[in-house]
């Protein structure tokens, strides 16, 4: 051992059955002094185990290809690692470990003749049948981040600033990281032990299934007297064989004749649905020009419909992936996040529909009442409240002496538009119960539909406030700009556009005079314009916040990690968030076990545990969205826009909804792809093999997957 420091690392499952019987420890050998115990084979000779490992008897009767095990565990074969509960006097290979797993002590005492110190890493094996596993990195509940690419495609003016800022920050950070890299002088070459960690994680995930397989095959090791069955056992066996045959025959009938028809019909229905969905999606995503907004960017309803359609398109693909999982070992963990995502979205849609049915039946039953309430709210808040506030502004509000004539002019203008608008609403009023009825009916497709529809309805019915806001903001902005340039004139300066700076300028006397008079005039008119502008800006902000509430409700209905939360409470092992180690005290170990055989042995006992995913990581997407909204609306830029009367751009729907799309792939699978995927499913699902499968004399009727059983016989 040339580059070795005498450190022996032993991975040992805590939940291996303990006994005082002699045994052989079998497992992986990641490097000479880095071993991973899989199982203790009891009461067998180590010679026999060695030959069995060589010819592969121990992995006989595996339900899936054995090569997969070696591929994922990163080793080409298993080895004997040592002996369990044997006296020290037995002559063995010095690199083998001695393990004492008494029933009394919970920590096995491990010794090795050729190692000076030992790390015993204990772990609890995750149960693959329950889909538990461990991983170095937290499980990803969302699909990989691909929205950055999306957003760069159509940057709009408002977003560009944020993006540029972010990019600049990233660039500086990258440079810093580069600099930091130059800081470390010695670049260490990682040793074999250090590189093995990823492999070891896989080996831990496989430990349970492999141990079961090994223990099943222990009986094949060595020469054992074969016992033939007694007469009564034979009778029982043939009776069960007969029964199983009958069952198999009937089941085959169902599978061969009825199931394919049902399946075919279902697949055809699915494809029809897929084609319709494709057409609707094309309509929703159609843009007149690449830079223009598509329908789904404008309307919440269109967006909601699009999300649902995309989900329907994605489900068959997900389902196919999950079905293929059954053809592999249970310990393969790559598809577990898919499983969680798939059932989360199914569950959310089911929930959505259930809530929707309750909501919808309530709305339909009380359509007239709801319509009355809504029209009341509309008249009170979008008409009467506006009217009263405008008339209040027209008559010296709060003791402010506004310019009466300008206030009267502006007020009359807005009041006139409001009057016209209220007559429109009056005309709409008889139709409102029908609209509400339609909305109520739509909610059978999920509670998110009426919410999205209400959100759109709100935007349509408050369009006058939006236009007032635009108009008053424009007037205010103009006036402010004129004031600024006149102020420059007043000081004898002017703004040089070519150089983008303030130059001094010699004005004539009459220029100065007219400019100053205009400046005073506009300055005294400013407060009047400001109060009108503020009035509408506040109304607009209120509407934006109401819509934000609707959007939050939508994102909760569409994206809430319900399944993950349930798993977290029920079985945290299925949501790994990394691993942690815990150093345990070794004193009681030393007391419990007989005193250490050699003085120079020092053992540290370490527990490896899986950390369940924390709640912060589960709601990571929500935090991100909240951050994005906060950055957009609570930034100094927005305040500046509000103060100078520039238009505050609403947050891009695409950004807001990145949360909802995080469960969907960036590019949906095409119709043909789906057809191929659906048809690629394994042809028929046979019933699970009966516990004692008979071998038929002719062996013809047996399906191919049972062919492994033929070798077995009544051994």
């Amino acid at each position: 051992m040339p580059e070795h420091d005498g450190l022996m690392r032993v991975f040992w499952p805590t939940d291996l059955p303990r006994s005082d019987l002699r045994g052989v420890v079998v497992g992986w050998k990641n490097s000479a002094f880095d071993v991973f115990a899989l199982a203790i084979l009891e009461e067998v000779e180590s010679r026999n185990v060695e030959s069995a490992l060589k010819i592969g008897t121990l992995l006989r009767n595996a339900s899936h290809p054995v090569s997969r095990i070696y591929e994922l565990c990163g080793q080409s074969s298993m080895y004997i690692l040592g002996l369990a509960n044997t006296p020290d006097s037995v002559e063995v290979d010095p690199s083998w470990i001695h393990v004492a797993t008494g029933t009394g002590s919970q920590v096995p005492s491990v010794t090795c003749a050729s190692a000076s110190s030992i790390q015993v890493v204990l772990f609890e094996r995750p149960l693959p049948g329950r889909m538990q596993y461990i991983s170095l990195n937290p499980i990803a509940l969302a699909l990989g981040d691909k929205h950055g690419i999306h957003r760069l495609d159509f940057p709009d003016s408002g977003e560009e600033d944020d993006e540029r800022e972010e990019r600049r920050k990233k660039e500086t950070k990258r440079q810093l990281v580069e600099k930091l890299k130059q800081h470390s002088i010695v670049k260490r070459v990682p040793s074999a032990k250090e590189k093995a960690l990823a492999k070891i994680v896989n080996q831990i995930n496989w430990a349970w299934e492999l141990e079961k397989l090994l223990q099943k095959n222990v009986s094949r090791i060595g020469t054992r007297p074969k016992r033939s069955l007694s007469v009564s056992e034979r009778v029982v066996e043939s009776a069960t064989t007969m029964r199983d045959m009958m069952m198999m025959w009937m089941w085959d009938l169902v599978i061969v004749y009825i199931l394919p028809v049902i399946k075919r019909i279902f697949v055809l229905g699915l494809m029809c649905h897929r084609v319709t969905a494709e057409m609707m999606l094309l309509i929703l995503e159609w843009r007149a020009r690449p830079k223009y907004a598509a329908l789904k960017d404008i309307s919440a309803t269109a967006q909601q419909v699009e999300i649902r359609l995309q989900q329907f398109c994605y489900w068959p693909m997900q389902y196919v992936t999950l079905r293929l999982r059954k053809n592999d070992w249970e310990s393969v963990t790559t598809s577990h996040p898919d499983y969680i995502r798939f059932y989360n979205s199914l569950w959310l849609v089911a929930n959505d529909v259930i809530i929707g049915i309750a909501l919808g039946s309530y709305i339909i039953d009380n359509a007239t009442w709801v319509a009355d309430e809504i029209s009341n709210l509309l008249t009170t808040y979008t008409v009467e409240a506006l009217q009263s506030s405008i008339s209040w502004l027209m008559g010296w509000p709060a003791g402010l002496k506004l310019n009466t004539e300008l206030a009267a002019f502006l007020g009359d203008l807005f009041l006139w538009v409001i009057d016209y608008w209220s007559s429109c609403i009056e005309a709409l009023r008889p139709a409102l119960p029908h609209i509400i009825w339609v909305i109520g009916f739509s909610s059978f497709a999920g509670a998110s539909m009426p919410i999205a529809l209400f959100s759109d309805l709100l935007s349509i019915l408050t369009i006058h406030i939006y236009s007032f806001y635009l108009a008053s903001a424009r007037i205010y902005h103009w006036q402010l700009n004129i004031l600024i340039s006149l102020f420059h004139l007043f000081r004898g300066k002017k703004h040089n556009v070519l150089r983008n700076r303030i130059d001094s300028c010699d004005y004539d006397l009459d220029q100065l005079l007219v400019g100053t008079i205009l400046f005073t005039l506009l300055f005294f008119l400013l407060p009047t314009v400001v109060v009108f502008y503020l009035n509408f800006a506040i109304a607009r902000m209120a509407i934006i916040s109401i819509k934000a509430v609707f959007d939050t409700m939508l994102s909760c209905l569409n994206h809430f990690p319900l399944f993950a939360l349930m798993l977290r409470v029920k079985d945290p092992g299925r949501l790994p968030g990394g691993i942690r180690f815990e150093l345990r005290d070794t004193q009681e170990l030393r007391l419990a076990a007989h005193d250490p055989p050699k003085g120079h042995h020092s053992t540290s006992v370490i527990y490896l545990q899986s950390i369940p995913l924390n709640f912060r990581a589960m709601f990571h997407q929500y935090f991100q969205m909240g951050n994005r909204i906060r950055k957009h609306y609570l930034s100094p830029r927005v305040v500046l826009c509000l103060l100078t009367g520039k238009f505050v751009p609403p947050l891009n729907r695409k950004n807001l909804y990145s949360l909802q799309y995080s469960m969907l792939p960036a590019r949906r699978a095409g119709v043909m792809e789906m057809w191929d995927a659906v048809n690629s499913l394994p042809a028929t699902m046979r019933r699970a093999a009966p516990a004692s499968l008979p071998v038929l004399p002719n062996g013809r009727k047996l399906p191919s997957i049972y062919s492994g059983g033929r070798a077995r016989g009544y051994g």
């Binding site: 470390s184 942690r580 815990e582 005290d585 527990y607």
Partner: protein, 293 residues
Amino acid sequence: MLTTAPHLYIRRPSPTTAEFTVTTCPPLTLPLRLALACVHAARLSLLLAIILLLYGRWTASPSFLGAEHIRALGSPVSLLLAGDFPSLVLSVLQLLHASAAGQVCARAATHLLPSWWGLAVLAGALLYATRALGRIHTTESLLVLRGLGIQTASSYSSYNANATGSSSGSSGGSCVVGGGGGRWWGRIFGGGGAGGNAKETRFIPTEKIQDVLINEAFRGFEVRYYLVVVVEGEEELVVVFPRLLPRRRIVEAVWRGVRGCLYEPDSSGVAAAGGGMGIGIGGGDVKSVDEKR
């Protein structure tokens, strides 16, 4: 009295494994244990006072069910046996309310703070005090495992958690699979292991560790030396002991320990740096390096 300046404990059962714990918890002597028990009693009574205040206010409001109604539900013991927990809680609260302390709280709730808002603010403040009392000590640790990596852990904790650092072995026995009752809660909330204390851990594999170094930074008017782990492929440095930021003496000791323990001593320079900590070898002994100001 309850806390000390951050000081270091080193646990090193074998030369290839070491745990460095920096804690503000002084060694658990009898007076300290008594004081901590008092603090816990104070926390409990504060919590009880909050509940009684709210309940007292509720009894005065029109939505209250009525004391007779609750008494008619039965005695707490019978309710406990029947498994009717909402009723059990109600009847226990009514019993407490009827006691002298409960009456005081109820009077305070109804006379001093007739409005719900004031009461809510008071309850919030008391709750905050309760939380703050629970976070007396801060313990942060660094576990170095040769061949595996580095793990940082940090916790605000009560004195249960600190027991692992100072009186070693007390928790070892029950910790083998996580200890009985605390385990379930530990699994659900925060993934805590032993004793149910929520601990934030972060494991960095050796392969990912680019460097471990001591850096200095200005903090207010002082210079602080802190230990950082540079992780490959990450933009942020991982600061070890981020809450306590112990003094240079401790940081240096930990740094030497880490360099000596983490890497195999094939490169001679690193091995020399680790030589200073050789006294720890021998297994299982606990040494403390107290900070001197």
